[in-house]
């Protein structure tokens, strides 16, 4: 089956969704996705970030689809033509959804552990409006303690329901779910029950925002100050293949290995995630690479650093020697009088 997205064509198998086809093509035409997760059954369709315009339904029925379609749950048809980033209507819809996602969001990125690897940050960077039109009071939820390993910040949640699907599909006893409804809908155990299943930590990895974060990593470091390495260990519960996030010689956090769409390659167990923070526990394979625009690359060490030669006058780059001298502290006389009083150099020392 042939499908064309933003003018680029690709052959796909029947049953492929528009989003999957777009990811096969890659690049800027790939719609953002906040709730779809290829490894979770039944995910997608909810956040509406990935809306696209189907300008031609199929070869057999070429009529355009009147409404924008959620690309993650809409199957490709042979001859289908789709407009993603190229469509002003789609751009407008993505802006709208971004605005809706942000109106009640606390915007507490400065103290959020997800900052730097947050899909909502990325989405607002691409499609957000710098000025909020929302002047009402933001919705807030009572904090709930869901156990020793996972921190729930309901105010940040966008209700993608991935964490519920993780619990349904990876564990045999889901204890949390979506409670209440409308804009009061929330993720909760309802009874402040500890979520302690062996695979519960994957809720953190699938969470696109800072609603579910790793308590053992809480406020330890900004993610971009960590050096991520691929590592593995022999684990009888899971694949044992992880990314360890290091600060100096210390492993501060362990996560699944996330791909370019921030989906884990394989789910990992809580043992690997929370209980093995010693370097000796792991065989370090080497640096984990991230997409080029990730903030984690601010701290990039995956490429060889070469000395950069800039072809210009030395004076422009380094300044004049006499200016260096002026701002040097070496020659300041600490006993110099200020306003006629002698300064005690020891006191100021």
């Amino acid at each position: 089956m042939k499908v064309t997205i933003d003018g680029q064509s690709i052959e796909v198998e029947p049953g492929t969704t528009i989003l999957q086809a777009a990811r096969m093509i890659g690049g800027e035409l790939v719609p953002p996705a906040m709730c779809y997760y290829s490894k979770l059954k039944g995910s997608g369709g909810k956040c509406r970030c990935c809306l696209v315009e189907v300008s031609k339904g199929s070869e057999a029925d070429p009529r355009p689809m009147p409404k924008l379609m959620a690309s993650c749950v809409t199957g490709c048809m042979d001859g289908m033509e789709v407009n993603s980033k190229s469509s002003p209507r789609v751009e407008e819809a993505r802006k709208s959804v971004t605005e809706f996602l942000l109106i009640n969001h606390p915007l507490d990125c400065p103290v959020c552990d997800q900052a730097g690897e947050c899909d909502l940050q990325n989405l607002s960077f691409e499609h957000g409006n710098p000025k909020s039109r929302f002047i009402e009071e933001k919705r807030t939820f009572e904090p709930e303690d869901i156990g020793p390993n996972i921190q729930l910040h309901m105010n940040r949640c966008i209700l993608c329901q991935r964490c519920v699907q993780v619990a349904d599909q990876l564990t045999d006893n889901r204890v949390h779910g979506v409670m209440d409804r409308g804009d009061h809908a929330n993720i909760s155990t309802c009874i402040s029950k500890a979520i302690d299943n062996e695979f519960s930590g994957n809720m953190i990895d699938v969470c696109p925002v800072g609603a579910l974060t790793d308590k053992t990593f809480r406020f330890k470091s900004r993610v971009w100050f960590n050096k991520p390495y691929n590592a593995h260990r022999d684990c009888d519960k899971c694949c044992g293949k992880t990314t360890v996030w290091m600060f100096g010689g210390e492993i501060q956090r362990v996560t699944g290995r996330k791909d370019v769409y921030h989906e884990v390659e394989e789910f990992i167990c809580n043992g690997c995630r929370f209980d093995h923070k010693n370097v000796e526990d792991w065989t370090i394979e080497g640096p984990r690479e991230f997409e080029k625009d990730s903030v984690i690359n601010q701290n990039n060490y995956t490429q060889k650093l070469e000395k950069v030669e800039i072809a210009t006058e030395k004076l422009i780059l380094e300044g004049r020697d006499k200016d260096h001298k002026k701002i040097s502290m070496a020659e300041i006389d600490y006993n110099e009088k200020i306003d006629g009083n002698l300064i005690d150099s020891k006191k100021n020392g």
Partner: protein
């Protein structure tokens, strides 16, 4: 979600269990969960019109589903109460067609008469006034739901009478 620490006396009587079994028989054997909403209504009616967490857990056990599946449903639907409510709950429809016929003034009247605010039970736990969304009785406004039944074409005099009837134990809440 609303939470309460109040303990509830759980008593799944034989008669209630017979009714639950009958409701479950309406669905294929492997689809017992489908009976959840009707079973919750029956269980709630038999327990002073509210569902504590313990009672919800009991329902989960009876239907052989996870407790969280019951919590999710109870918190979604407006008719399931998660805390004790006034015995006689006056649920006024306050959607626009009813308001065109004076519902808001009548709610004020009822609250003043009972000395309560909307959503707060009276001190003796006898009454509570709530505004609810469209009950499907727009042509018979103002109206309210009281137990299983509708009270329509309400006036101040009718409210007075209803309150008196409740106090005299003349009002049947559930049709069993």
């Amino acid at each position: 979600m609303e939470k309460t620490q109040i303990k509830q006396n759980i008593n799944i009587t034989e008669a209630l269990m017979v009714r639950i079994d009958e409701l479950c028989s309406h669905y294929p054997d492997d689809k017992r969960k489908s009976a959840l909403l009707p079973v919750l209504h029956e269980v709630q009616d038999a327990h002073d019109n509210w569902l504590s967490i313990e009672l919800q857990d009991k329902v989960a056990e009876i239907l052989r589903i996870k407790p969280v599946e019951v919590y999710e449903v109870v918190t979604f639907y407006t008719m399931f109460n998660q805390r004790p409510i006034g015995k006689y709950m006056f649920e006024f429809c306050h959607t626009s067609p009813c308001c065109l016929n004076g519902t808001e003034n009548l709610m004020d009247y009822t609250c003043t008469k009972l000395g309560v605010k909307v959503g707060e039970p009276t001190a003796d736990g006898m009454f509570e006034v709530r505004g609810v969304e469209c009950l499907g009785a727009c042509g018979y406004a103002p109206m309210m739901q009281l137990g299983d039944f509708y009270q329509e074409h309400l006036t101040e005099a009718k409210i007075d009478q209803l309150i008196a009837d409740c106090r005299d134990n003349k009002i049947i809440l559930h049709d069993k």
